[in-house]
Symmetry: C2
Subunit: 375 residues, 2 copies
């Protein structure tokens, strides 16, 4: 059975079933068309290709945008280690949204959560990962005047009254039902959801949260208490999970280095990893592959191209057709991906280097950051 919580994703995930179970809505053609009508650029591939597939109140967000009420974006990262390419997905997509709609964005670094949840985590490590992860996030390229990046442990005083109000409105029963807490769960972890909920209250406008579907539990809590607190119910746009190298199920695991490509992997490592581990939808022999063709639907290399690395629909379609027909071999498909990843990582490394200087602005002195610290 599939398990999908903020702290565990495993098993074969049926996304349609998640939508039913979580009570979210699928993003249909009508909504895509509406986004398209407002956005400056062509729809992002992650939308076109149904990777961001589910939502809560995205229609209301667009209405608010249309009527001039506006909205704001909120996403985040738990700094439990170095980042892999899957971790970048919400940020890449959020950057696109910020560009299209020119709105404020809050990026929460949940150092408190990771310390509380990871048994082995010590505070110094979490702090080091926070700093490291922020560079990878800023490398994506947000608007420095309209983006506020903050670590919970540093910004907690400014959030605390709202955190307390959120916590006061959430019983242990509710938290237990929503997150599956047990008697052995530590009291910090039980409290933590009230910290993750608060950035949805940073403005009186509607908040849109781009995130993977496993984060939805938090927004269910938020939506029960937001209106009595004088705020709007959070809206969300949910992604699927980038499949781990090792197969189409679950999500990449930070604890198993071979299931992921890390942002610091060098060219050789990427090549070796993809060639060795990337789960293939191809046939056992070249002859058989030429004869029967491969299955791109389960082929991780193809899926990664589709989700992250091949923006051009025509090129992607050709790769799919050729792979399905047997014209394109697994090794050739992997070569395409390896080149794409290495080119991406090389550009990312340069952007990351430049991000070092920008941190100050995003965290303290940019227009939005300054306003948030003055509160």
């Amino acid at each position: 059975m599939a398990v999908v919580t903020p702290w565990e994703v495993s098993g074969e995930i049926n996304y349609q079933r998640l939508v039913r179970e979580f009570g979210t809505k699928e993003i249909g053609p009508a909504l895509l068309e509406k986004i398209s009508s407002f956005s400056k650029n062509k729809l992002h591939p992650m939308l076109r290709r149904n990777f961001f597939f589910s939502h809560r109140d995205l229609d209301l967000v667009l209405n608010d945008y249309q009527s001039g009420k506006g909205f704001f974006l909120y996403t985040g990262r738990g700094p439990s280690g170095k980042m892999h390419i899957g971790h970048l997905i919400p940020f890449i997509f959020t950057k696109w949204l910020q560009e299209q709609f020119d709105v404020n964005l809050y990026i929460q670094i949940t150092d408190d959560e990771k310390f509380l949840v990871k048994r082995q985590a010590n505070w110094n490590d979490v702090e080091a990962y926070s700093k490291d992860n922020i560079l990878d996030i800023l490398a994506i390229g947000f608007d420095p005047e309209k983006t506020f990046v903050f670590r919970d442990s540093e910004y907690i005083r400014h959030m605390y009254p709202l955190v307390l109000d959120t916590a006061k409105r959430t019983t242990f029963s509710t938290a237990k039902a929503v997150f599956g807490f047990k008697n052995e769960t530590n009291i910090g972890w039980i409290f933590y959801p009230s910290v993750q909920v608060v950035p949805t209250f940073f403005e009186k406008k509607r908040c849109l949260i781009p995130c993977a579907i496993d984060q939805d539990n938090y927004w269910r809590i938020q939506r029960d208490i937001a209106e009595p607190m004088g705020f709007k119910k959070a809206s969300a746009i949910h992604s699927k999970f980038l499949p781990p190298l090792t197969g189409p199920q679950g999500k990449m695991s930070a604890s198993d280095a071979d299931t992921a490509v890390w942002l610091t992997d060098d060219e050789k490592t990427v090549k070796k990893k993809i060639n060795k581990y990337a789960f293939s939808g191809g046939q056992a022999t070249v002859e058989e592959h030429r004869d029967k063709g491969g299955n791109p639907d389960v082929d991780v290399s193809f899926q990664w191209l589709k989700i992250l690395f091949e923006d051009d629909d025509k090129k992607l379609q050709k790769i799919e057709n050729d792979y399905r027909s047997g014209k394109l071999l697994t090794g050739e498909l992997k070569s395409i991906l390896i080149e794409k990843i290495n080119s991406f990582l090389s550009v990312h490394a340069k952007k990351r280097e430049k991000a070092e200087k920008k941190t100050e602005k995003f965290m303290y002195s940019g227009k939005l950051a300054e306003k948030m610290w003055a509160k």
Copy 2:
């Protein structure tokens, strides 16, 4: 049955039984003598008269003092409303300790707790009471260079890593067993004990906490985790409860104004309140009283004199003898108390006025405060 938790004290309290149940120790003559041998002044009446009656590791604190290792003091106040005279007890006694031993003192204003625990509390009220209560506390007169007064909501960022570490080491099971939390308890309240524990870690020295016995639950949690965290187990010195006006049981209730004398009560109100409500150990008629005498052990006026308002042992003894013999009538006993209270309140009001100017020093710019903010 008596109930004694940080949030409820009711019923007839058997202090000897509490000592057994909580696993604390009674303060015996040997320990009193030891305190006396180190202190500059005569033992405080609250010690001489066994009002501070129980402890944890007070002997070890004194050993540390003797050997030059030193110790520090920590106490606090939950700002749920205006203060009554009972609320001053830990502060009056703590001031005496600071004077005798010349040590650092941390005073925690638990605004977060009161907001979380009191159903009706709103944040603005709690903030207003915090400011108000701090003036009453500072009127007691601590060393401004060695005392740090802080509101949790304001100082939380500086405490947060240790709060998280404390929370991570405390399961819901443990918190439930120690505090009686239920499924309906809000997740902030469940988390809160980790905030109250942290000031015991402000120094590597041993921490001595003067408090009423109902706060002991927190120190039990602390003592289980302190040493693995690299700190010393908290020591405590516990008081009994000042009996409410209405009778010798329970403690004064902030929700029933007539059971307490408030620091802002005027002379007439005090007189009326004591005469009308103070539970009497006297007889029904003057004749019967002259004949049989009164019972000072249950007489609230006498108990208040003993605990708070008559430092002179000889004078107190005479009052006790005269009341027991029937020479002193209830009305006369009440008059003595009324005069004492009104004189105390008049001095307190003046000190409180002067405290306004000192707040800045105790909270931000005094030697200890400055050091704590620089951390």
